[in-house]
């Protein structure tokens, strides 16, 4: 009685064991509404991470399994879409209810398979799964009203990781089904069991055969899914390394892609924070799920003046963490998912220590050799590998900062951009910091909060796309007109006709970089002829150095993203005004270069002016949202500029194509490096004179003329460029997607299809604004 020990408090696992036994502890794939044994008798084992006990044999998916699943999904998709949102809502509702009804067995299975504490699977994972299906029941119900003119993408291949097996399944499957898609899900090799149990839940819910298919297996099974030609979209959550491979492999395939990848999320503690609560926040940030969380707050940034005191508090808290059997209701941390992962964590920490870091581990007796203690690394710097790279384990790196500006700089000094946590009692300070962080999610005075109503996802090497909320639904839909787009016709450059001489003085167009007209670095120019073959002038042949200079200028123009929308609108109106003043001149020029009729040339100019007006209008109206998750507080979904966008304009409609891309980007606060129509570049070079007279801040718009695809390759390979928009050839689209893989840029390419920029629906509006922005969700609980 004196010791006041907690004692064991094990959760009962008999129902889970009975379920496994009912399948003879052996599972095939779930394809087209029935179980299919592994065809070649190939099975691998699923283990209980705490002990290594074998739970079941899991089928190793082969190419023909994947093929059968894709066929089933493809066959089922039209009918599933045909049901309509309201019809599908009934099924999603049934799934939500059934997840709740089976919540205990799902929680126990999850803990057995993954090793996470039963508290987490019971109180966090499974309730969030049910919540996700409820929320998306609603999106299905409202689909036709809220997303008119959008259609499902089709057949979706979904690959999920082992850290939140069923929750990631829900994040993938719920929006996909709500929008009318059918899916093939590949669970992670370590953790297939809850996905397999979910198949039975789908049967109970009466989900039609082929709508949900689960093919188990390792990375090779996932690769089959990624490469399958009949898969229309891949949604992947996992490591940045695999995400990059998927980006490369799907390049040019026309597959839509969303990637939720790694992170090294900062946890920023200011000196006016509630320090005890911040310490508890760290427990939820880095010791939640043994730190095996993509958005784990693994980089502690603490204000220097309170650092010693804060670290002492943290160490004291760490000593109270309990490690043990994850089925025990009284433990904080379970085992690491697999000895392979444990070895990786150990190696990274050891390397950190040999690089000079100081390691402090809570003096906790480990319950076995499959566990890793809660760990703190100090004496590290932004240059340390343990600070830069994801450890994916219960290891926190701590650094100090002096000022809010330095905190932001340190926080953003990362290849990743997933999440951040900010601790301060000052609303001024926290709401100043949150928008400055280059991440997809910010938690103010809280951490690792998730809800179906608020989008989750990152930027930079943390991937692109959002899951949850309205923003997440767009990942599983496409505009109806995309289904009708035809391949672009090839455009031949105008050629010189003999004996036709240039009229008037020689005009040599230049690049437009940093608000200045600059000569091409290479010192070479190309002649441009009218459609009639008259020499119209010369344009510079841009090279990689011109691109480098243009990106540099755009980088320096970062003030544009912070300027107020009213100001951006003013400038867009002013561009329109100045273009309007020279409308007839632009019309003549377009006519001469492209050979279109006077009426069509004038029309192009008029639509361009109108489009500038539209985006001036949008500048202060493309508002974010306030999401309503279950929380006393607000979640602000802010539309933030993507950053620096490299753009290849369409070859035809040289003015309208340029304006259609540049204006939405500027309206939302981006800076752009534009490669204008290669065939008719002189319109763009005339246009920079309009820019020059319109108060556009230097570096906001930069133009480099020359060989489109060569220049775009340089942009796609430039690490400082955040996104690429490309409206050129199919081959060019493929290259852009492949080259963007290295830094995981968000891309928007046309796959060689023709977009009708003069049509209102295809040429302007929310679709463009969505590509020009990233949604950042800022969680702000409040209450005195």
């Amino acid at each position: 009685m004196a010791s006041m020990a907690y004692g064991p408090a094990p959760e009962n696992r008999s129902a889970a064991d009975a379920w496994l036994a009912s399948h003879n502890n052996r599972f095939g794939h779930y394809i087209d509404g029935s179980w299919k044994a592994a065809k070649k008798g190939a099975y691998f084992e699923s283990l209980f991470p705490a002990t290594g006990e074998k739970l079941a044999d899991i089928a190793q998916g082969q190419p023909d399994d994947v093929d059968a699943a894709v066929k089933a999904a493809k066959k089922a998709q039209p009918n599933w879409a045909e049901l309509g949102g309201k019809g599908r809502a009934r099924y999603l509702y049934a799934l939500a209810r059934l997840v709740q009804k089976h919540s205990r067995i799902l929680a126990v299975l999850e803990t057995l398979d993954n090793g996470k504490p039963i508290r987490e699977s019971r109180d966090i994972d499974i309730p969030l799964v049910a919540r996700h299906f409820y929320h998306h029941t609603g999106w299905a119900q409202l689909m036709e009203d809220e997303f008119p003119d959008m259609v499902p993408v089709g057949v979706i291949g979904q690959i999920v990781p082992w850290n939140f097996p069923l929750l990631m399944l829900a994040w993938k499957i719920a929006p996909a089904l709500a929008a009318g898609n059918t899916v093939i899900l590949k669970p992670a090799e370590y953790t297939s069991l809850t996905a397999l149990k979910f198949c039975e839940i789908c049967e109970e819910a009466g989900i039609p055969a082929g709508v949900v298919n689960v093919v188990t297996g390792d990375g090779s099974t996932g690769a089959c899914l990624v490469q399958h030609p009949d898969v229309d979209k891949i949604a992947f959550t996992g490591s940045t390394e695999v995400g990059r491979q998927i980006r490369e492999e799907t390049a040019g395939s026309g597959k839509k892609l969303s990637l939720e990848l790694g992170g090294k999320s900062p946890f920023i503690v200011f000196d006016d924070a509630d320090l005890d609560s911040a310490v508890e926040g760290i427990v939820d940030a880095i010791w939640f799920n043994q730190g095996q969380v993509c958005c784990a707050g693994s980089r502690l940034l603490v204000q220097e003046g309170i650092a010693d005191r804060f670290i002492r508090k943290l160490q004291l808290r760490m000593t109270n963490l309990r490690l043990g059997n994850p089925l025990d209701k009284c433990i904080d941390m379970g085992p690491i998912v697999d000895p392979v992962q444990l070895k990786k964590i150990t190696a990274m920490v050891n390397e950190g220590v040999s690089d000079g870091a100081t390691l402090w581990q809570a003096p906790i007796e480990l319950p076995g050799d499959r566990f890793y203690p809660p760990s703190l690394l100090t004496d590290v710097s932004p240059a340390s590998k343990v600070v830069q790279e994801e450890i994916f384990g219960p290891v926190l790196c701590a650094m100090t900062f002096r000022t809010p500006a330095e905190a932001v700089e340190l926080a953003n000094n990362s290849a990743y951009g997933l999440a951040a946590s900010v601790w301060s009692e000052s609303i001024n300070l926290s709401l100043d910091i949150a928008p400055s962080l280059k991440v997809g999610v910010v938690w103010v005075n809280t951490t690792n909060q998730f809800d179906a109503a608020a989008g989750f996802g990152g930027c930079r090497e943390s991937g692109f796309g959002r899951e949850g909320g309205r923003e997440g639904m767009f990942e599983y839909m496409k505009p109806r007109y995309e289904t009708e787009m035809k391949p672009l016709a090839e455009l031949k450059p105008n050629i010189a006709k003999p004996n036709l001489l240039q009229q008037g003085l020689d005009r040599t167009a230049k690049m437009y970089i940093g608000g200045k007209q600059t000569r091409p670095d290479g010192g070479a120019s190309t002649a441009v002829y009218s459609s009639a073959g008259v020499l119209m002038g010369h344009v510079g042949e841009g090279n990689s150095k011109d691109i480098r200079n243009a990106v540099e200028a755009a980088y320096k123009a970062s003030g544009w993203g912070k300027s107020d929308p009213h100001n951006r609108a003013q400038i867009l109106y002013y561009i329109a005004e100045n273009l309007s003043a020279r409308a007839s001149e632009f019309g003549e020029r377009i006519k001469a270069l492209t050979g279109v009729s006077t009426a069509n040339a004038r029309r192009e100019v008029e639509i361009s002016i109108s489009r500038l007006f539209s985006y001036a209008a949008w500048a202060d109206k493309y508002d974010g949202q306030v999401h309503s998750p279950p929380l006393r507080g607000v979640v602000l979904a802010m539309n933030e500029p993507v950053g620096i966008i490299g753009m290849a304009c369409p070859e035809t409609l040289p003015l309208l194509g340029l304006v259609s891309l540049v204006a939405p980007a500027l309206a939302t606060g981006n800076r752009v490096v534009v490669v204008p129509s290669q065939t008719f570049p002189l319109i763009a070079t005339d246009f920079y004179q309009v820019l020059d007279t319109s108060d556009v801040p230097p570096g906001t718009i930069n133009m480099v003329t020359g060989d489109r695809d060569q220049l775009m390759d340089v942009l796609a390979s430039h690490d400082q460029v955040d996104s690429i928009w490309y409206f050129g050839s199919a081959q060019g689209s493929t290259r852009i997607e492949r080259l963007s893989a290295r830094t995981l840029k968000r891309t928007w390419v046309n796959q060689g299809l023709e977009r009708n920029f003069s049509a209102q629906q295809q040429g302007e509006g929310r679709e463009f604004l969505r590509f020009a922005t990233d949604v950042k969700n800022i969680w702000i609980p409040y209450g005195e």
Binding site: D123, D276, L316, N320, N445, G633, Y782, E784
Partner: protein, 328 residues
């Protein structure tokens, strides 16, 4: 960063808190984030669980920390005697003996009565070392003249109370007059002499957690031996978020001064499950030393019978009926 191995001190006897000079900077530097505190309080019961003989041990410890209380207008000597009898043998003998505690001196932490019942309690508790606690200073509202409050304390101490549960003037906290609150509590402490001072913050009337944190610090600075949540008469009594804030302030005071202050939640804690949650919270935030009766009390009237039922279930495997357990 200066990193040292976190040191958890252990100690046997609690040195009495002499109080500190008033330090407004400390009072104002206190930061409490309500949502974060609530998240911790909400998830804590899911993080800790005790079963079987371990649970019995925790509940027996809780019994030893109960200030068995009656504070009603209709209290009579008969009622108080019955309460004291229950305090002397809080758990039925056969249950105790099944738990292996037949011979131990086993009683509640104290009995807590109004001043007029001190003499009765003294008589009823003769021969035991059960302390008598009494409420004071115009309990529960504290809206009586200051001189009378001091006199009330002195009279109770003279009458033989070992522990004085005072109420703070909420007005001083609500208007931010922290130095006046400090002076008030310091005067109470002086009036207590050797009797222990428990300061009731009436957290349900302070409303905000920041006020709770500041009032906790001020009371400890002024020499409180215990800080206590509630009178049991406010619309909202002890809650886990309030307890979390108060225990964190106790930890802060301990960290800065080396003096261990006790904690007493009171009001609305009526089930074994409830009290276990407070025990978990204290063990996690302050450590097991704070679960002993010299640093933890729980003010309750109906809690004991639920614990006793739970203990009987623990011993027999079947659920108990109230009429088979002795009334308090």
């Amino acid at each position: 960063m200066n990193v040292t191995r976190a040191d958890i001190k252990s100690f046997d006897t609690v040195a009495r808190n002499p109080g500190l000079d008033f330090d407004l900077d400390w009072v104002y530097s206190v930061a409490v984030n309500r949502s974060a505190v609530e998240r911790r309080a909400k998830t804590l019961p899911g993080r800790r669980s005790v079963k079987k003989q371990w649970q019995a041990a925790w509940l027996l410890k809780a019994v030893r920390c109960i200030d068995l209380t009656t504070l009603s207008g209709d209290d009579t000597p008969g009622r108080v005697k019955r309460l004291c009898a229950k305090a002397r043998s809080p758990v039925r003998a056969d249950i105790l003996s099944a738990l292996g505690l037949a011979d131990a001196s086993f009683h509640t932490g104290a009995v807590c009565v109004y001043h007029n019942m001190i003499a009765t309690a003294q008589e009823a508790l003769a021969g035991t070392d059960i302390p008598i606690a009494t409420v004071s200073t115009g309990f529960p509202a504290g809206q009586t003249p200051f001189e009378l409050k001091i006199m009330e304390i002195e009279r109770s101490v003279t009458a033989g109370a070992h522990e004085i549960d005072i109420v703070i003037s909420r007005e001083l906290a609500l208007t931010g007059n922290w130095s006046a609150l400090y002076e008030e509590v310091k005067a109470y402490r002086k009036a207590c002499g050797n009797a222990h001072l428990k300061t009731i913050l009436a957290t349900g009337e302070l409303m905000t957690l920041r006020n709770v944190a500041r009032a906790s610090i001020v009371c400890m600075m002024a020499g409180a031996d215990f800080i206590k949540t509630s009178t049991g008469k406010e619309p909202v009594n002890a809650t886990l978020p309030v307890a979390l804030v108060m225990t964190r302030m106790i930890r802060e005071y301990w960290d800065r001064t080396g003096y261990a202050i006790g904690f007493k939640p009171a009001g609305g804690i009526s089930s074994a499950r409830d009290v276990l949650q407070y025990q978990f919270l204290i063990r996690e935030e302050l450590g097991p030393r704070w679960l002993e009766p010299d640093l933890f009390r729980v003010g309750a009237s109906s809690l004991l019978s639920d614990i006793e039922r739970q203990l009987e279930h623990n011993v027999s495997g079947s659920y108990a009926a109230y009429h088979r357990l002795a009334m308090g």
